[in-house]
Symmetry: C2
Subunit: 441 residues, 2 copies
């Protein structure tokens, strides 16, 4: 079996003990299949499937599932952040009073009440919209899939961050989009670098269809893009004529201050498609998210979604709409912010205490669930991970997974949302030891 080791991030959990990540490696499919059809599977698969490589390295996977492993790898929200009891009450009342409707098919674009509540919800962020500007989707990942399906022909060019969210690049890869990476620094995507890249591409007559950006507490880097860069991005999109796909799953989880205006709030030309979600502030298991965009784009999206899944989960939309109507989210978000801020402060303390500061840097998180650690460039975080898991019982996601070209080897995504306080204290110490040992060698 041809095992080409590079790590690939993937959701994982066994529902009792979440390790939050599968460690994956590229495996040549033809070598793992068997049986009458299996031998000819390659003949049947579409070309795009060739780029869908992944299979667990089962031994390492088993290790990460062991309770003694402390995982900073997961991208999972802390279940303490779910308003379970409120959801239980709402659900019970819905099933009592409107059970038949809540269990029936719904309209493709979403429950009208849910769409109304979404339009209201985003006004806090400075987004002016009506029900006709949004569509309900089953998680932002579905939004990314539909966006890719609508805009990408094989070989179409797009801009992504370097690093960028791997769920985005997976979606774009599956439609054979060609990704051009633009540096993401502590302030998010660098707009000077973006302009340079656009000029460079334009000279080759390459005109990207869209730029994909996670401006607020980016996954993986935790970076927050300031207002001037947001405005500049709109200007560049007008000048170079591309769309902006703004993905904002962590937008609500800032540790201090009022709501952060998304790029969409500055959109004067209908160029921004804003992906919002209730996964981090209500429940990810409900798969409840939405896209805000120009009405003409939404109309096409509704037709595209019809072929994708007919409609989103109806019960989840009833729950979401009712939660919004009752106003339970705003006080609840305050709790989540406090929780994650506390987790970050513990992690920051651990990083300061246990990491070799002269050799290592990290992003000072102002919100969200992640920090981004850069180790000396002679180290490969993929090699470190094996040592970390096997010898020190601590896990993270290697940064290379977040670069479509896998060009950067010395970064790691470290999540503070899910582990316990104790795990953060012990885990940072363990990870600090791994890095210090590697530097010594």
């Amino acid at each position: 079996m041809g095992l080409n080791i590079y790590w690939r991030w993937c959701l994982y959990g066994d529902y009792e003990h979440y390790s939050g990540v599968i460690l994956m490696a590229q495996v040549d499919v033809s070598s793992v299949v068997s049986g009458p059809v299996a031998n000819q599977l390659e003949k049947f698969f579409a070309v795009r499937v060739q780029s869908m490589h992944a299979s667990e390295i089962r031994e390492l996977l088993k290790l990460t599932q062991q309770p003694e492993i402390i995982s900073f790898a997961g991208g999972l929200p802390n279940p303490e952040a779910f308003p379970v009891e409120e959801i239980r009450k709402i659900t019970d009342e819905i099933l009592q009073s409107q059970g038949k409707q809540a269990l029936q098919y719904g309209t493709t674009e979403g429950l009208p009440r849910m769409r109304e509540e979404i339009a209201k919800w985003v006004t806090r962020l400075g987004i002016e919209s009506t029900v006709d500007n949004n569509i309900v989707v089953q998680g932002s990942q579905q939004g990314l899939d539909i966006v890719s399906k609508m805009f990408l022909d094989p070989g179409d060019n797009i801009i992504v961050g370097s690093p960028t969210y791997v769920g985005g690049s997976n979606a774009f890869e599956a439609y054979q989009g060609v990704m051009h990476q633009v540096e993401v620094d502590e302030d998010g995507m660098n707009m000077d670098k973006l302009e340079d890249k656009l000029k460079e591409l334009n000279k080759k007559d390459i005109h990207p269809k869209f730029a994909y950006v996670v401006p607020t507490f980016q996954n993986p880097s935790g970076a927050l893009m300031p207002e001037d860069r947001r405005k500049r991005m709109i200007e560049l999109s007008n000048e170079y004529n591309f769309l902006i796909i703004e993905d904002s799953p962590y937008g609500e989880i800032q540790f201090e201050g009022g709501p952060i205006k998304p790029i969409k709030a500055y959109d004067d030309g209908g160029r921004v498609l804003y992906l919002g979600t209730f996964s981090k502030i209500l429940s990810p298991g409900l798969r409840l998210a939405y896209i805000i965009a120009d009405e003409n784009i939404i109309n096409k999206m509704i037709i595209a979604k019809q072929a994708v899944d007919l409609c989103s989960n109806t019960l989840a939309q009833y729950i979401g709409a009712e939660a919004l109507t009752r106003g339970i989210l705003k006080p609840h978000i305050d709790k989540i912010r406090a929780l994650y801020k506390h987790k970050w402060e513990l992690m920051r303390k651990g990083l300061n205490e246990h990491f070799p500061k002269e050799h290592v840097k990290w992003v000072e998180a102002k919100g969200g669930m992640f920090t981004w650690v850069t180790v000396p460039d002679y180290l490969d975080s993929s090699d470190l991970l094996k040592v970390a898991i096997e010898q020190h019982k601590v896990a993270y996601v290697i940064g290379a997974a977040f670069y479509p070209d896998r060009s950067v080897k010395n970064t790691m995504r470290v999540s503070f949302s899910y582990p316990t306080d104790e795990q953060i204290e012990i885990g940072t110490e363990r990870l600090g030891t791994v890095i210090k040992d590697a530097i010594k060698e």
Copy 2:
């Protein structure tokens, strides 16, 4: 606005009063968009979007929403068929005892318990499988989307019925598959015609990747494929080397007799991908369905689904798994069968009493939710529909929507699952009058 009238089926409902269908027409997108980006939208869309035409004819739509319209158009299950109270109890218990897990992200392939229950559930039908042979999807439509994504490059050839389920053809069209139609008669897809078609295609060096078939109470025709045709289809798939996509949403709803063995039960070469769903026997709003296939195909599908939506709704899977564990579905299915059988008998009586039998034929339903009416070939059921809605306050879906080439104009899909008893009696009389009047003219 260039309005090219052909009808297109679409899910529709306002949650209070389901008319169950939007009547759609082909509209040139460039003529309905406006605004700075809108003017250049065509430039941004992928080629596949060109084939996604649809927009409501709002006036007719409004009509179908009026309470006085009797609709045989909907493909909706009767909400009397939802075990609302059982679902309420199960949901409440889950949210009390396992709320945090049920609201968290899940594994892409599905909740392990759900997969186990699915593997058990299909043994009744003669399908031998393990958890490794299935993947949980958010409705069979998502299954069709993922199958298309995995197997179809633009221009790839496939076989579909004539007529065929429009959700299937929509999914295949969205991946630019080329559909070759094979006649569906009262016994489902005609295997002699299939062999002829395969020979004809082979001569042109065209080798279809898969055949898509709904063998049990087909949507739209209601036809049931007998055992000999099922076996023959497996033989042909081996001989001509194609996969079979077996879609079976109505498989449980036979009016008499024991379970009907799916084609998958005869599959000796791992060629059949079986799409099963809980939409018609538990709740469509939960979007809970599955695919059973060769393990190697499932493994690739898991990777594909990861880019599509990360994971299915977790709460819905907890509910489904618990419903299966408790065994509430089997007795409940008996109720659904009795309900739909009763509805069909009423409709059959109405057809016999009010339809001009010398000019019209219909499929004698043995299960499912539909019958298929063929009017004289000098009539166009699209013209009839306008008269039916506007003058006689009765609706159905025109058959042309179910032929990818729109070649057949004189058929109509008539659903008996959703209307009340009284509506069936009055509606068949109204529809009979529409047809009789048209024949007279």
